[in-house]
Amino acid sequence: EDQVTQSPEALRLQEGESSSLNCSYTVSGLRGLFWYRQDPGKGPEFLFTLYSAGEEKEKERLKATLTKKESFLHITAPKPEDSATYLCAVQAYDSGYALNFGKGTSLLVTP
């Protein structure tokens, strides 16, 4: 059974204080690993898809990396507007196209 574990559950950063969020996964055959951002009371918003170990993708202050067992979302010099819950999900070859999500990391960036 596919498993996705995110850590930490919550993270508080000062503005400009860089850090990383972790997503550990177990899947029989990885079709893709996804990162989403979710603001309170809203639907998740797509950030990145990673397909194979060693792949990296960047968007503004965010950078996602992938190994065979985990993915990291690096946040460089965060701003208060980066505060949100970040969700990691895996899509496996043997489970159709649905995504299996972790519980998320709640990020708060203070001025």
């Binding site: 918003e45 797509f46 969700l87």
Partner: protein
């Protein structure tokens, strides 16, 4: 461009009452459609997904059902709500294809069962 609409945004229902949440997608054809539930302190749980009209797969045994009467319409229903049905319900769509397909989510429906 593609858009996804989900309604109602907020719903407060008594235990034992029926439920109907609706989702429609515009700007694409034959999408894969999904219903997820997000309960407090838990991750997104896949409830149903559909790869075509009348084709529904259920992931979790529960008090809910789903239907897809038209290509771009997905409905989540219950005949009698339970307290445990409270949560944030999210509809999503993805294109058909063989690669890793991004799911695009609607704005969600907040259901409170009292």
């Amino acid at each position: 461009s593609q858009t996804i609409h989900q309604w109602p945004a907020t719903l407060v229902q008594p235990v034992g009452s029926p439920l109907s949440l609706e989702c429609t997608v515009e700007g694409t054809s034959n999408p894969n459609l999904y219903w997820y539930r997000q309960a407090a302190g838990r991750g997104l749980q896949l409830l149903f997904y559909s790869v075509g009209i009348g084709q529904i797969s259920s992931e979790v045994p529960q008090n809910l059902s789903a239907s897809r009467p038209q290509d771009r319409q997905f409905i989540l229903s219950s005949k009698k709500l339970l307290l445990s049905d409270s949560g944030f319900y999210l509809c999503a769509w993805s294109p058909t294809g063989s690669g890793a397909n991004v799911l695009t989510f609607g704005a969600g429906s907040r259901l409170t069962v009292l």
